[in-house]
């Protein structure tokens, strides 16, 4: 379980808060989506969990342990981190990229080899074919699959995802998202995902936390939020996909009517 209590982040010594008084609970094995526009503080909130950014106030716990009591480097090795930039190392092969953390931990070559193949199978890239390729020889979707495999290499129980499908084309994005969601369920991962894509949030999340201007506006299941936005900003945010859905509906109905006389 991940728990944030009264977390704040200020870049000007308390003058203004980029993230203000955020409290959240992510139950074990569930996916929480941080939703909001750019600059709302959602990425900052995410990065405070693995201490890529240090909070200026409040407390963050993973499995009941204060993250600040842990060594930052150790902490990050236990948390899978996937982000929009993907960040595969261009000077390493696919296998080299996936094996980075095991190598940092000093695993034996044999154990690393087995684990790499296992992970490549998991993200559906046949090891024999992909192991020795370099990142530049892969498509964007394939690269992010490696990104997932790398993040999962040492069996992380917690995943942090920052717009992980943001750089992919719509078809690849849908496909990869579905795969990720089923993989997450299968492995029982606790995850926090940042997105500004409302549809993506609604389709993926167990819980959605909506943020604006550094503040947490509302937390709830997609169903709860759609039924009762409870906040004018949340309502306007959710109005957009609803509008899209209505229009698509109309368009599809229209086509159906004309197609069947």
């Amino acid at each position: 379980m991940i728990a944030l209590s009264n977390v704040c982040k200020s870049y000007d010594a308390g003058g203004t808060d980029a993230v203000h008084d955020v409290s959240l609970k992510v139950p074990k094995g569930s996916l929480l989506v941080l939703l909001g526009g750019s600059g709302c503080g959602k990425t900052t909130t995410l990065k405070m969990i693995n201490r890529l950014i240090e909070p200026t106030g409040g407390r963050i716990e993973i499995e009941g342990r204060d993250v600040r009591s842990l060594d930052a480097v150790e902490l990050r090795r236990g948390i899978g981190y996937v982000f929009q930039g993907i960040g595969l190392f261009p000077h390493m092969t696919v296998a080299g990229n996936v094996a980075v953390v095991p190598r940092l931990l000093g695993w034996s070559a044999e154990r690393i080899g087995t684990r790499v193949d296992e992970l490549l199978d998991l993200v559906r890239l046949p090891p024999a074919e992909y192991r020795d390729r370099f990142p530049r020889q892969l498509s964007g979707g394939q690269q992010q699959r490696i990104g997932f495999a790398r993040a999962l290499a040492v069996g992380a129980r917690v995943m942090l995802l920052d717009e992980p499908f943001g750089a992919l084309d719509p078809i690849t994005r849908d496909e990869l998202r579905d795969e990720f969601l089923s993989l997450r369920k299968r492995l029982g991962l606790t995850a926090v995902m940042v997105t500004h894509d409302i549809t993506e949030a609604l389709l993926s999340a167990d819980q959605i936390a909506v943020m604006n201007a550094g503040r947490l506006l509302r937390v709830g299941t997609p169903r709860e939020l759609v039924a009762n936005p409870g906040d004018p900003f949340v309502a306007s945010l959710l109005a957009a996909p609803r509008r899209h859905a209505d229009r698509l509906d109309a368009l599809l109905n229209d086509t159906n009517k004309r197609g069947t006389p």
Partner: protein
């Protein structure tokens, strides 16, 4: 192959060895300084600014000036160290700036990924930043390599040994083959090393291990090939002796004469040319040169900084005392001849004008010539203190004389052809006899005596058999013999080596009645 080329090739191992040693140690030191500094600076923008600024300022100092400056800053130390220091300072900038640029140029996305995966700062550096910056850093090392190999030729004037010895000796003796030889050798070395480092750079860019091995192998081969001479000298070559010679005919002949005396005694002589004459004295003081021929007048004015006049014997005595007690080298004794400044004119003109001394000549010029007296000489002669003193002592007014500056090798012909009335000559020059020139007496003693003396370094003088081998040269070369030897080289176009043999035969037979 001509004798000239043969001699040039004979010196190649030593000069190339010196050049390589200087270049390789310089580059190693420059990398050892710039790489860590660049890594730290890439994380601290203020430090980067200051370090790059300083390195940039050093870069604006002309290289020869920087070398000379190091010699001064190290208290007149000559040879390897001032050159090393100057070249290290000089090559910091390209490596430093490329290291900073290379590390800063790593995609921030990769830094975020590395941190997110749980790399410590050190792991980030070794696993991500350095491998990705490697091609850029190698590019900087490549620039530094070309810079260092080229600039190392300038180590010669401050007493270092490099391919520049060919160039500087070539310039001062108008031996164009020697100059070209040095330039081509230095250029080939620079191109070769540049291409090998470039190969390493390509290997880093393509992540090709095999290419990297080829490049590294090539670099090692070239480096150790070049270092063959210094390395073999390091191990065992204890019978090596270094003979310094200044860049004029007589000095070449005498250095060969010394060689020919030392070789049969079991020494391995190495003749070194192109060092400045003043620097040679410092080199023999520091045992970097083992023996050389110098002149009492030079020691008197250059090292003792005396301005007064003393006769030949007193000068010799005082110079010897100074060299042994104050300067710290061993003066073995005079060779027998002088190479002094002297005023000369053709024998015919001297007879016609009825002059035998400088005083006579001045009087003739003032009373009977009816036009200014034309005196030819090397430009430096007229800048020396002796020329104003000559004018003062002999009351030669500006209106009575017209000086004509020309290269020293041209003055003898000029006076013979009547282009000038008199010249300032070197008293041992062979062209004095060839062109039937007469030296005018100098009753006012404006020119100090310039007895040729043989110097040995203290270390060399202690070596068994060394002094004994050179002993026969002392007092064996008369003024006429030396002049004839010089004439054979300058006019007869015989090689200095050959003439040295003749000189030794003549000298020894003259000495043993």
């Amino acid at each position: 192959m001509s004798e000239n080329l043969q001699e040039l090739f004979a010196n190649l191992p030593a000069y190339l060895g010196g050049h390589m040693l200087l270049s390789v140690t310089t580059l190693a030191a420059a990398v050892a300084i710039s790489l860590p500094l660049g890594i730290v600076a890439s994380r601290r923008p203020r430090l980067a600014e200051v370090a790059l600024g300083l390195a940039g300022v050093i870069q604006t100092v002309p290289s020869l000036a920087l070398l000379a400056l190091m010699m001064v800053l190290l208290g007149g130390l000559i040879g390897f160290w001032p050159a090393f220091l100057a070249l290290v300072l000089y090559s910091i900038l390209p490596i430093l700036s490329n290291t900073v640029l290379g590390i800063r140029g790593v995609d921030p996305v990769l830094i975020e990924a590395a941190k997110g995966l749980g790399m410590s700062d050190r792991q980030l550096l070794w696993w991500v930043e350095l491998p990705l910056a490697a091609p850029v850093i190698l590019g900087g090392i490549r620039t530094a390599t070309v810079l260092v190999v080229g600039t190392a030729t300038l180590a010669t004037p401050i007493g270092g040994q490099s391919l520049g010895n060919y160039i500087f000796a070539g310039i001062s003796t108008l031996n164009h083959t020697s100059t070209m030889f040095g330039c081509v050798a230095a250029a080939l070395l620079a191109i070769g090393l540049d291409q090998l480092v470039r190969l390493l750079e390509v290997a880093a860019r393509r992540r090709s291990r095999r290419l990297a091995y080829v490049a590294a192998g090539g670099l090692l081969l070239v480096t150790f090939g070049g270092l063959y001479e210094p390395v073999t000298r390091w191990f065992g070559g204890s019978n090596r002796v270094v003979i310094a010679s200044a860049s004029f005919t007589e000095q070449y002949t005498l250095s060969h004469a010394m060689s020919q005396k030392l070789e049969p005694a079991g020494f391995r002589p190495e003749r070194r040319q192109g060092m400045g004459f003043g620097v040679q004295h410092l080199a023999i003081q520091r045992n970097e040169v083992d023996c050389m021929v110098t002149y009492t007048g030079d020691v008197w004015t250059l090292l003792m900084k005396r301005q007064d006049y003393a006769d030949r014997e007193t000068t010799l005595k005082e110079v010897t005392r100074f060299l042994e007690e104050d300067f710290g080298v061993v003066c073995l004794g005079p060779l027998g001849f002088e190479n002094a400044y002297a005023v000369a004119m053709t024998q015919d003109r001297a007879k016609a004008w009825e002059v035998s001394s400088i005083a006579d000549m001045v009087e003739f010029a003032r009373i009977r010539l009816g036009r200014p007296l034309k005196v030819g000489g090397d430009i430096s002669i007229f800048l020396h203190k002796e020329w104003p003193r000559l004018k003062q002592k002999y009351r030669l007014r500006d209106g009575d004389v017209q000086t004509v500056s020309m290269d020293q090798s041209l003055v003898y012909g000029a006076v013979q052809a009547g282009e000038v009335d008199a010249i300032v000559a070197y008293s041992s020059d062979g062209r004095l006899t060839e062109y039937k020139l007469q030296l005018l007496r100098d009753p006012e003693h404006v020119f100090p005596p310039y007895d040729a003396i043989l110097l040995a370094s203290r270390a060399a003088a202690r070596r068994p058999g060394f002094v004994e081998a050179l002993q026969p040269l002392l007092g064996s070369i008369s003024q006429e013999t030396m002049r004839e030897a010089n004439r054979r080289v300058d006019v007869g176009k015989q090689s200095p080596k050959e003439v040295a043999g003749w000189l030794l035969e003549t000298g020894t037979s003259a000495k043993t009645p």
